[in-house]
Amino acid sequence: MKITRRGLLATAALAAPALLLARTGFAASGTLKAAIVMPGAITDHGWSQSGYEAMGVVTEKLGIETAYSEKVAQPDHVEVLSDYARRGFTHVIGHGGEFQDAIDRVAARFTDTRFIVTNGLHAADNVSTADFYFSQPAYVLGFLAGRLSKSGKVGLIQAQKFKFTNDTLAGFEAGFKIARPDGAVFATWTGDWDDVAKGKEAALNQIAQGADIIWPTMDSATQGALQAVREKGVKAFGLYYDAITKWPDIVLQSSILDVKSLIVALLTTARDEGLTGKNYRYDFNNPDVVRLGTFASEIPADTAAEVATLMSRIRSGQLVIEPA
């Protein structure tokens, strides 16, 4: 076949709208390809591991193609996110609020890709955010701590100060004060999510000051803190997963922020009806995503009942826990 300039132009003119159509049809037609970019290791027993496992579930249940990048440091955010967009992933997740700035920049360049920031700060046309109503479980655990603490002193250990940790502390303190107006909540920031030795020392310090219930909320460093709790024979709360399964002798209850279910829920929505540029907030009304774990057997039944009442008041909207 002889290719003429006119013929080429005509073909291009015909093909262009078809290509555009194909492009817009791409996201809606269900051929989702999702990638997640994570700050930590996929073995951190926390945030990043949940993100990684979610992608496994998504691949299996929803049958969509997934990919992940772990341990992506702040300077590499833009490049890694852009790379996935360039490779034709329709949904690119920045796993954590720290991805917001990078996603704002990348989303402006790749307008056909849907970006998602977990714990994000603001949405845009092609940027959705998703977070937990952190204050709710924190409030309930605070209340439970107030009921169960013998010394009237409990400790919360966090790595860094930002919206999630501020909300958690505020909720925890508010709930605690209801149950124990005269008690005290110690807050420690270690400045490191993964330094297990420091996590342990932080917990030992709080215990030495009289705290008898410790709630560590870091990533790998949490394991160090729980080790300290075990050695000193006090009690702890878990975070993200039902920690009583791994630490049955010390864990009283856990705030399950099911990062895995959050991502699965979000991508299911994406497949079924598509995502819009808004914040998807999950609270106690989405028990798949936000719930409490198993009560330790030593917790009196009436205390557990009180907690249940508290939770139903929160669910019905009767009791609103304001974020910090």
């Binding site: 290791a41 996929i42 073995t43 951190d44 027993h45 591991q49 100060k161 110690f186 807050a187 420690t188 920031w189 270690t190 400045g191 490191d192 993964d194 330094d195 297990v196 030795a197 420091k198 342990k200 020392e201 932080a202 030992l204 310090n205 709080q206 030495a208 000051q209 790998s220 394991q223 160090g224 080790q227």
Partner: protein, 313 residues
């Protein structure tokens, strides 16, 4: 509210400081040996992590923390030899080689830990050393728990410091090691095999740093987690300078950093109104001030960082 915590908490503070300082102290001791022999060991961080992995893997596979300690220390020595191969044998820039070791160890330990413990079983608890109170002495007020109710590795550190100090300053081998770092050409003329001395001291250096990592796993948290050395190897590099390349000085400097870190954790909640970041930078600010303050007259071994080539003129 008083600025300092309760007096009764000072004993807790000291004990916490000693525990936090021990891994740094081991690494700093290793670093002193390396730098005294004429090689910067920037790879302390990686070797520590490597030792931590070795300790966890060894204990996991054999069930005995002693075997874990041996495995960790041996792996550390191997990493030290690798550094020696790179910068003594192949004359690679010492800083670059050290950084390469750090990156290698970070990646390799993560990979091997996943292979060994698996994703779900990661953070598998291993057995370790319990603390070993010294009769009578552990009951002393203030310093009793800090110095005499600790784990075996904490007791081992001062013993090793004494041994290293005596060897460095009172034996012929020590003289050779220091000569290799001060004036390798003169040492070579006097019949010292500078290359061999540096290989041995780097192997020891790696072994000491790894022992610091073993302390993290076997005496503190009883699990291995990725990146658990968390910058302690780099703090050790500062401790070496602050301690003026002397084993005792370096370990005392490590103790100082450990105490600052422990103090930071306590000051935070006795002063909830002060931003916590102020306390977090305390160890680093203190080390900067101390470095400037004590820097007068401090001099590193003259040949540290330089490649020694027998054939060169």
């Amino acid at each position: 509210m008083s600025f300092l915590p309760d007096i009764s908490l000072i004993a807790v503070l000291l004990a916490s400081g000693v525990r936090l300082a021990t891994p740094i102290g081991f690494a700093a001791l290793g670093g002193v040996l390396a730098e005294r022999s004429g090689v910067y060991n920037v790879g302390l961080e990686g070797m520590m992590l490597w030792g931590a992995f070795g300790a966890a893997a060894g204990t996991y596979l054999t069930g005995s923390p002693v075997a874990g300690l041996v495995a960790g220390v041996l792996l550390g020595a191997v990493a030290g030899l690798l550094l020696a191969l790179l910068c003594v044998g192949l004359a690679v820039n010492q800083l670059v080689a050290g950084i390469a070791i750090n990156l290698l160890c970070a990646g390799l330990t993560a990979f091997l830990a996943r292979a060994l413990f698996g994703l779900a079983g990661g953070g598998t608890a291993v057995s370790g050393f319990a603390s070993l109170p010294v009769p009578y002495l552990s009951g002393l007020p203030l310093i009793g728990t800090a110095l005499f109710n600790q784990d075996p590795l904490v007791y081992m550190l001062p013993v090793l410091v004494a041994v290293v100090t005596i060897c460095l300053y009172r034996t012929q081998a020590g003289l050779r090691l220091r000569a290799a770092g001060e004036s390798p050409r003169a040492a070579d003329s006097a019949g010292v095999n500078v290359t061999a001395v540096r290989y041995v001291s780097l192997a020891l250096s790696g072994a000491f740093a790894a022992a610091g990592g073993c302390h993290l796993v076997l005496c503190q948290v009883y699990i291995f987690s990725e990146g658990m050395s968390a910058g302690k190897g780099f703090i050790a590099l500062a401790a070496i300078i602050l301690g003026r390349w002397h084993p005792v000085g370096a370990v005392v400097a490590a103790l100082f950093f450990g105490l600052c870190d422990a103090l930071q954790l306590q000051l935070q909640f006795s002063n909830p109104l002060v931003p916590y970041q102020i306390f977090l930078i305390l160890p680093f600010a203190a080390s900067l001030v101390a470095l400037v303050w004590f820097n007068k007259g401090a001099r590193q071994p003259a040949a540290t960082g330089m490649v020694f080539d027998r054939e060169a003129r």
